[in-house]
Symmetry: C2
Subunit: 392 residues, 2 copies
């Protein structure tokens, strides 16, 4: 069971990262998803709850009495303590028994997927621990959480792989619908119908998943498909889409070229741009292996684009992919302030990343995105790479 796999991984990471204990301190998790709850608890809680992993193998959950049976049913926590009115007593009792030298909490300035603790709940924890020695032992559990989330187990990789496979099926079913006259919004509707038929929700909010761009007038970025913009001969059609399957995401960008009368191939400038994007992904993939800092992988791809005379893409080459479509951890991106320290973190075996970039052309944007798994020595593509423009 995946929940137990991740819990065992967390236990091993406690020793590796030198944390005294790991404390997921959460409430109303339907409203406030927390990475700890997501990865090792597996059930929602309502009242303030504490989930402790101790250095000696202790696993203690402290939750409201009406939440105990759901936590017990998951079988991760050896001890499930219920309370009615106040968590303070059982929480301090558990901390006294574990007496950890440090207490790692789920917050991070850099990795948003290690940042589940809300500021109000952090203030509440300060109140609860006032006058105890544990107040000064609070620290960030990000070193543990980032690895726990980033190092995918075989079960997790298999789930991403299946999410990618069903997405590729949707892309294939979309091709016959791409023809002059259909609007971006029409194409998005086709994708939504296929998602529903295949029983997979979009990986991000449906309003903007898929992103569809036809021709040079289309708005790039996280925009909504237009009802006015219609496919025309001479357009590049670009789709960015992903699904969630068994809790894991895919994220792909695919391209079509709609021929003008008499054309048998894309115009030279379009083909040249497409080839540059493919080669940039090649370069990123060639640089991707355990131990390399994220920014170096980004730089390898960025150099190809710049050398080919295109403007730099205004985002990182790749982000983590997993339970979230932006799964946090190491960022394959430039050292811009907006990425914090994530581009300096090292790539690890078991990480899953996107490799994605785009360049502009007079026919519209060329953008491709592939999903890859980091292996012991390099990387493996989880997606069937697009190496040729699909001609319509």
């Amino acid at each position: 069971m995946l929940l137990h796999e991740k819990a065992d991984q967390a236990e091993a990471l406690l020793a590796e990262t030198g944390l005294g204990c790991w404390l997921t301190f959460a409430r109303e998790t339907e409203l406030h998803p927390d990475p700890g709850v997501d990865l090792v608890v597996g059930a929602n809680v309502v009242r303030t709850s504490a989930f402790l992993f101790g250095g000696g193998g202790e696993r203690v959950a402290i939750v409201a009495n009406f939440d105990t049976s759901a936590i017990q049913a998951k079988g991760v926590f050896r001890e499930v303590v219920g309370y009615d009115e106040d968590i303070r007593g059982p929480l301090l009792d558990a901390l006294r028994r574990l007496d950890p030298k440090s207490v790692g909490l789920n917050y991070s300035t850099d990795d948003q997927t290690a940042d589940g603790l809300t500021h109000g709940h952090w203030l509440l924890l300060q109140d609860l621990l006032r006058g105890t020695p544990y107040l000064d032992r609070l620290t960030s559990a990000a070193p543990l959480l980032t690895r726990l989330r980033g190092r995918k187990t075989p079960t997790e990789v298999a789930r991403v792989r299946r999410a990618v496979a069903v997405t590729e099926q949707v892309v294939e079913l979309l091709t016959p619908h791409i023809r002059p006259g259909v609007s971006e919004r029409d194409l998005a509707a086709v994708v939504h119908t296929r998602f529903a038929e295949l029983g997979v929700p979009p990986a991000w909010a449906a309003e903007g998943c898929p992103i569809v761009n036809t021709g040079p007038a289309s708005d790039l970025g996280h925009s909504y498909p237009s009802a006015e913009l219609r496919v025309e001969p001479g357009h590049l059609v670009h789709v960015d889409l992903g699904v969630r399957r068994d809790g894991y995401c895919s994220d792909l960008q695919r391209m079509w070229y709609v021929r003008r009368p008499g054309e048998t191939a894309p115009p030279a400038d379009v083909q040249r741009a497409f080839d540059a994007v493919v080669r940039a992904i090649d370069a990123g993939a060639a640089a991707l292996r355990p131990g390399v800092p994220g920014f170096e992988v980004d730089a390898a791809a960025r150099r190809v684009v710049v050398a080919a005379g295109y403007p730099e893409f205004k985002h990182g080459l790749g982000h983590g992919l997993g339970r979230a479509v932006h799964d946090g951890g190491t960022m394959l991106g430039p050292r811009w302030p907006c990425y914090g320290r994530n581009p300096e973190a090292a790539v690890e075996a078991g990480n899953v990343f996107t490799l994605e970039l785009g360049v502009p052309t007079p026919a519209g944007v060329v953008g491709l995105e592939e999903d890859v798994l980091v292996t012991a020595t390099g990387c493996e593509f989880l997606s069937s790479r697009q190496r040729e423009l699909v001609l319509v």
Copy 2:
């Protein structure tokens, strides 16, 4: 458009609460839902973003360039500033122009629905504002957010009403399936099928929505329906369920009694317990009006239950209901530490609450839950009250 209704309400609340400005500071909102983004932004963002409401009617959004078009499409923010690498410049620029005497942020120790800012992102904001006068002007926006969320507009009330109506339809369709031999899990499956047919997702995670309890051996609280426990003659059957419709939730508990051979009515002890629960809800509703602190409403119902000789229920009489099934704000609950200061907050017109409680009997739990709207002088039931046990 609801988004604009809420934005106008927020603008009025800035003056009412005396905040200099309201700053929703969020990132990766697919992963970290934020009440400000939810109520007045209406689109997700990826990179660190700032949404400012100023005391002079200013509305400024600062988001990554690839997120600007989605924010502009919503039309709430008069100024949408894009950035690529670093939010610091445009953020400080906006603050200098507004020069607010205080900057309200989305955190609260008490109200979890006013607590969207993560601790890591709060630390990041501290870094960004270091060396500016705004660092010392940061405060909690909870006084604004709790009212903004709690005072439902007519559009919002209409949505809750429709969510309640469809839930009552599901309850009606469930009745013919309640008969000896069916398991709790069978009944949950019927509810899930009806949800799907009616196109409404469950209001909380499907695994525990509905909660189904048959007979005295069933596990109470937020438990999962059992495949082993089956309906028997002499059982009370209890279902706790809700749906989400147009973004708003319902939350109801309904009851059936399965007669033994020859029985024409429930046993006296069951009927007595049922009547006590109905009267407790009567008493809560009678006490519910603007200006009353939440704990007084809870106490009115609790007194009825205790006077009838039943144990006190181990939760509050009622919680806010709206975009979240536990919608935060004033709590109709006892002054227990787990509820923070929420039970001391005053009820306001436009609030929507549940009124819910249960008592044990030898035939199983009796639990009822209704949904009510606070009016200028009292309250109105949004649900069709259950005043009689449904006999099977």
